[in-house]
Point group: C2
């Protein structure tokens, strides 16, 4: 039996059009089954655009959708048959092995947590993000699931991040660093200081290299970056903002004279090469780790290419048994004295 | 009497060479007096390189220097005549009206706080940074003085940031935004939620526009960005890291073929135009606000141009009576009901 991935067909700015397109491409390219959850009429209309012979795409119909602006908690109580709820249910019932959601991050997170439950030992699920660097991509967590954290939570993030960096990003013995505002021991706020001591007490086991700073995110020298969800979310969006600023400023410069305009045209290929390297669409979303099941949450503005890649990440997480490996490592960590 | 600025001649990676050079340039350009604090022999050697006729540069000799790696608290106890201590003393005694320090940020901050004391009403001094945007620069605070904050501290930051944005950055009625991980009310960690309520209770007085996110730092639409010193420092360094990554990746692309190399050469002027717009050296360091005196702390890697601009910022803060205006606004804020 091929792996089956459940996809919320109604989530995100371009649903169902781009979601269905990405799902068809993924089914063809990765030899997997897909279950699309959402409005059957609309989904069928989209599916009719493609040659779907030989691929396995099922549909679970529902009319309910949680919109981006809705409060996740309220919406989940009110809409028992929301597409994201049924998508999670498909994994919870074992009909699918993983899920992909492109709509409201809060709703996808809450639905996954309530529908799948937590992995044994893990207190809080975490959003594990893949960050571009000048070398290979690295993992950063928490990307925004937990605004207020305890040191023990960051310790769990370190374990989950290491497994992710090993199995999905392909590092042999990834280095774990604690996001802080200085490299020396004793730096930072209360959370950072206590977390440093906790991670340092299992230094060898975690391959903990100590404190790192904001500028170290993009060097690729540290492969698992641990922080609370408030700081992680600020990092994600600050990096996005800085890159957008660069792109806007360069566009302004290239428009400022005829000479610059010509150079701009001649540079197009160079910039597209560069853009590919920091392409969030290729990365394929973030894994929600710590829940009993594979849940990939991707940007609300995802188009087909991003959806396809998110499905690939879900498939890899299933194949490589990321969750089993997390539980194994967590249990081992409890017995290990460094 | 012209304004006199005390400059720690021994602080930073290029001291005293670049510090003295920047001081001479500032004295000439801004028509101010400078007091250089540090090793007299070395300073005189540097001064001898320039035509200093008609400008007023004094020297206060000391042999003691606090190095970058030292613990600020310990070093300040041990080295009573450290150059940064005497630089602060010059302002405390009224011999100078403001100071510039390029060495250890921690030592400069601690020396300023202990040597100058706090402004009436202000609980904690704050590092007020100037951030580049696609429009005009904006203020972000705290840049790293206070790792653990209370809502009342962020309220003070908002007041100090508004005065800075008005008097130094030239905004008429700058907008204040709270750094958070979502725009809606009720988002974020405990600190952000409580601070939102506090700032919102003086919404009109502060021109508080609500929550902003990491990506809003660089748009220029919010002119005073308020956050705790941990988050602010992470933002500063993440932005720095993202910009460094872009620059490295583009360099790699431009080297990847002969065609790209030629385009790279033809693009040089375009990039230098762009670089000028995000030039930290031009910004001239960060103001430590909330202390009784003008204290400008600049990057340890500052060269003459950065030092000159830091001296300009100190001069402007003195001329525009930033501290008096902060006290005034703070007192007014206590009486204001929105």
């Amino acid at each position: 039996m091929p792996i089956k991935i459940a996809v919320d067909a109604m989530g995100g700015d371009y649903a169902p059009l781009e979601i269905v397109k990405g799902a068809v491409e993924a089914a063809k390219e990765y030899n997997i089954s897909i279950q699309l959850i959402g409005n059957e009429v609309q989904i069928k209309e989209e599916l009719a655009k493609y040659d779907t012979k030989g691929i396995d795409i099922g549909i679970t119909h529902t009319d309910e959708v949680i919109e981006m602006g809705e409060s996740p908690a309220k919406a989940l109580r009110a809409k028992k048959r929301a597409s994201i709820v049924l998508t999670v249910e498909s994994v919870a019932k074992g009909e699918s092995q993983g899920l992909v959601a492109a709509g409201s991050t809060g709703a996808a997170m809450a639905a996954s947590l309530f529908g799948l439950g937590r992995l044994p030992g893990i207190k809080r699920p975490v959003i594990c993000c893949t960050m571009p660097t000048t070398k290979k991509p690295v993992a950063m967590l928490d990307g925004g699931a937990n605004s207020d954290c305890e040191p023990e939570m960051l310790y769990e993030f370190a374990i989950m991040g290491r497994i992710f960096a090993q199995l999905i990003l392909g590092y042999n013995n990834p280095k774990v660093g604690l996001m802080n505002i200085g490299e020396e021991e004793g730096k930072g706020n209360e959370l950072a200081k206590s977390t440093f001591n906790l991670l340092n007490s299992k230094k060898e086991f975690l391959n903990f290299i100590g404190n790192i700073e904001g500028r170290d995110v993009f060097t690729g020298d540290c492969q698992v970056i641990v922080c609370d969800g408030f700081v992680g979310n600020v990092i994600l969006k600050t990096a996005e903002g800085a890159l957008t600023m660069v792109s806007k400023m360069l566009k302004q410069e290239y428009k400022s004279s005829l000479y610059n305009k010509i150079i701009g045209l001649l540079s197009k290929k160079i910039f597209s090469g560069f853009k590919k390297r920091i392409d969030y669409e290729k990365i394929g979303g973030a894994l929600l780790l710590g829940v009993k099941g594979v849940s990939v949450i991707t940007h609300g503005s995802s188009k087909a290419y991003a959806i396809k890649n998110a499905i690939r990440v879900a498939k890899e997480a299933v194949e490589k048994e990321v969750n089993d490996k997390i539980v194994e490592m967590y249990e081992k960590s409890m017995k290990t004295v460094d």
